[in-house]
């Protein structure tokens, strides 16, 4: 199968759906001239130039206008530029987008996607490195997708572009250039279906985004020692696939959860709390959580490396439950 990058997969998804659906348009800061800071819009440049719009640095309108445009019949894809700048327009998301349908008793199908990069890159520091997907899992009202491979990126995003509910998509900066197999044929990945990225029988590792790759790398090393790790990529957090997770836990009886966002009150806590609540008797060991240390992302490489979890953090956690 041909291999394309994560960023190309995203671009293809938008392009394909745009050519089908004239209500799709996309906007944000710095996207229409260079194709976006991570190149995701390059496939659209010159094709649907009237539907790719550069905007002022006005995040509250970038987000809030998506709701208005959706209610008026369009399907906006608005970029948040960096996850950290979700905060500069947070009211429009948390008080408007996420509440509108519920507050109005179900009026309107809300067709909109907020998308953009999250996570660390090479020393982008505290205001350009955050992963804050947990907040959108905690507050009700938006579906949360967080793909780890080009294949998942494209399939999930295409589904998002046909969904009847608001969606937020987190794309890890370190993944944009990653290549992976993506079929030429059209496909869609449903929300709420986790992907077992690697089967195993001793421990279940549940991860998303960049940490899926760190977990796979960890599992390879552990495999050499005869430890068989099952790596589950949740792919979406709202909804999250309890069924696949539970099936695995019933098999392995041991769980590690790995995410890049802060460990404290990160979504790993939700998964851990749910598993122990519903599968108490299946657990042979405490569920371990791997996440960033509870400080901000520091600039200097040795500091950043210390704060952010990697393969070794997963290995250590897996060892501790055996």
């Amino acid at each position: 199968m041909r291999e394309i990058t994560f960023s190309e997969a995203l671009g293809e998804a938008i392009l394909e759906e745009m050519s089908r659906d004239p209500t799709i348009f996309t906007y944000g800061e710095d996207i229409a001239k260079q194709g976006g800071i991570f190149g995701a819009y390059k496939p659209i440049l010159g094709k649907y130039q009237d539907r790719i719009i550069d905007t002022p640095i006005s995040e509250e309108v970038i987000f809030g206008s998506a709701l208005g445009a959706s209610l008026a019949g369009m399907r906006p894809v608005a970029e948040f530029h960096f996850a950290d700048f979700l905060f500069t327009g947070m009211a429009a998301i948390a008080n408007q987008i996420m509440k509108f349908k519920y507050m109005t008793g179900g009026q309107g199908k809300i067709h909109l996607i907020l998308r953009g990069p999250d996570g660390i890159s090479k020393s982008a520091a505290a205001q350009h490195s955050e992963s804050i997907e947990t907040i959108f899992m905690h507050i009700p009202g938006i579906k949360v997708i967080i793909p780890s491979t080009p294949y998942d990126m494209k399939g999930l995003f295409k589904t998002a572009l046909r969904a009847d509910d608001p969606v937020i998509c987190f794309e890890h900066k370190m993944l944009y250039k990653m290549k992976g197999p993506v079929p030429e044929e059209e496909y869609y990945i449903p929300f709420g279906v986790a992907d077992v990225k690697k089967e195993g029988k001793d421990v279940t590792v549940i991860a998303t985004s960049r940490m899926v790759h760190e977990s796979l790398a960890a599992s390879e090393e552990l495999e050499k020692e005869g430890i068989s790790v099952e790596v589950i990529d949740l792919r979406t957090l709202v909804p999250w696939d309890k069924e696949t997770v539970f099936k695995s836990v019933k098999k392995t009886h041991k769980v590690v959860i790995a995410h890049e966002t802060w460990r404290r009150a990160g979504w790993g806590a939700e998964i851990a709390a749910t598993i122990q609540e519903e599968l108490f008797d299946y657990l042979d060991a405490p569920i371990r959580r791997v996440g960033a240390k509870n400080v901000h992302i520091p600039f200097s490489p040795p500091l950043q490396d210390f704060v952010i979890p990697d393969k070794n953090s997963v290995i250590e956690a897996v060892r501790s439950v055996l």
């Binding site: 006005s58 309108v61 206008s65 445009a69 008080n95 408007q96 109005t104 309107g108 909804p239 696939d241």
Partner: protein
């Protein structure tokens, strides 16, 4: 007054309908029949009515926490409104929203809003949609004097101007943001002075004069429909009641309020209509009578309606909520 009699009478009728609805809502609230809290539009009716007379059903508005008047003027069902105020099942939001979250997307009302200024970005988005769809619809975004100090105001006006969107920003300057006088918190004398900062037309008018509102908005709406972009209109009015029903109003005297009553929009306009021969005493009485009947009917509807079943609370978050509620 060169406007057709029908239109003038409609102005009067709609203002009376709003006033009647609001007085009833106040009464019901004080009787403890309505949960939550409500913000009355009494004294500001001319703005909603004058503005909305320029709109088609397919045009949009965004409303505020003080939104009953906007709803009624845009053509909403009083029954569904009242049922919503009661928290009943057949209210506009199935009891999920209450006064501050009433919406009727089918007639272009993209929501009241409990967040001050929350409607402004939404209005801009509707404007973007209209432009992309190459339609000639417009959006009116209502917002208060207090809201004009929120960042969302600035972002919305700049954006609408840059993209020449068909959005009318209609500021209802009722002199107060809750306990705070507009002068205390707002650096300009006229909120319309801010239009300069967005290179768009800006004008301040007597918001208690329904004809002035109608005509000013008319011009702005025409400009917007013809691709001329947004306008900022400040309609100066006065909030005759407390910020919400039950407000102790320690921030102003009763005398101050009493002095403002003679300038309230309905009686002012009524005098004109009667003097001008557009309305007889009898017609006038009929209008009030009909309004009362309509409001009473809405109360009866609401009273007889049932409360939503508790489990309905789990509906309406998503179109497809499979596995999204645990």
């Amino acid at each position: 007054m060169e406007l057709p009699k029908e239109l003038l009478v409609k102005f009067y009728k709609d203002m009376v309908r709003i006033r009647t609805f609001e007085l009833k809502a106040e009464e019901l609230f004080l009787q403890g029949k309505l949960p939550g809290f409500i913000h009355l539009y009494i004294g500001e009716e001319a703005i909603a009515v004058g503005a909305m007379a320029n709109l088609r059903v397919e045009d949009y508005i965004t409303s505020t926490h003080r939104g009953h008047g906007h709803m009624i003027a845009k053509g909403a069902s009083m029954r569904k409104m009242m049922a919503e105020l009661y928290g009943k099942k057949h209210g506009y939001c199935k009891g999920k929203g209450g006064s501050m979250h009433i919406a009727d997307v089918s007639i272009g009302v993209l929501g009241a809003n409990g967040e001050v200024g929350g409607g402004l970005p939404i209005a801009v988005g509707a404007g973007m949609a209209i432009k992309l769809q190459k339609k000639d619809n417009v959006v009116i975004s209502f917002f208060g004097d207090g809201a004009s100090n929120r960042g969302a105001f600035h972002e919305a006006l700049n954006w609408a101007s840059v993209f020449k969107l068909p959005v009318i920003f209609l500021n209802e300057n009722n002199q107060f943001a809750s306990t705070e006088r507009v002068q205390e918190t707002t650096s300009v004398e006229n909120i319309s002075d801010r239009a300069v900062g967005y290179n768009m037309p800006g004008v301040s008018i007597d918001g208690n004069d329904v004809i002035a509102v109608y005509e000013t908005v008319k011009e702005a709406v025409e400009r917007a429909r013809n691709g001329g972009g947004p306008t900022l209109i400040e309609a100066k009015t006065y909030r005759l009641k407390g910020h919400f029903v039950g407000d102790p109003q320690l921030y102003r005297t009763k005398e101050e309020v009493d002095q403002r009553w003679p300038n309230e929009p309905i009686s002012r306009f009524e005098r004109k209509l009667i003097e001008g021969g557009y309305l007889t005493e009898k017609e006038k009485e009929q209008i009030w009578y009909d309004a009362k009947a309509e409001v009473e009917d809405s109360v009866q509807f609401a009273e007889q309606d049932e409360y939503p079943a508790p489990e309905e609370a789990l509906e309406d978050l998503f179109e497809d909520s499979t596995n999204c509620l645990y």
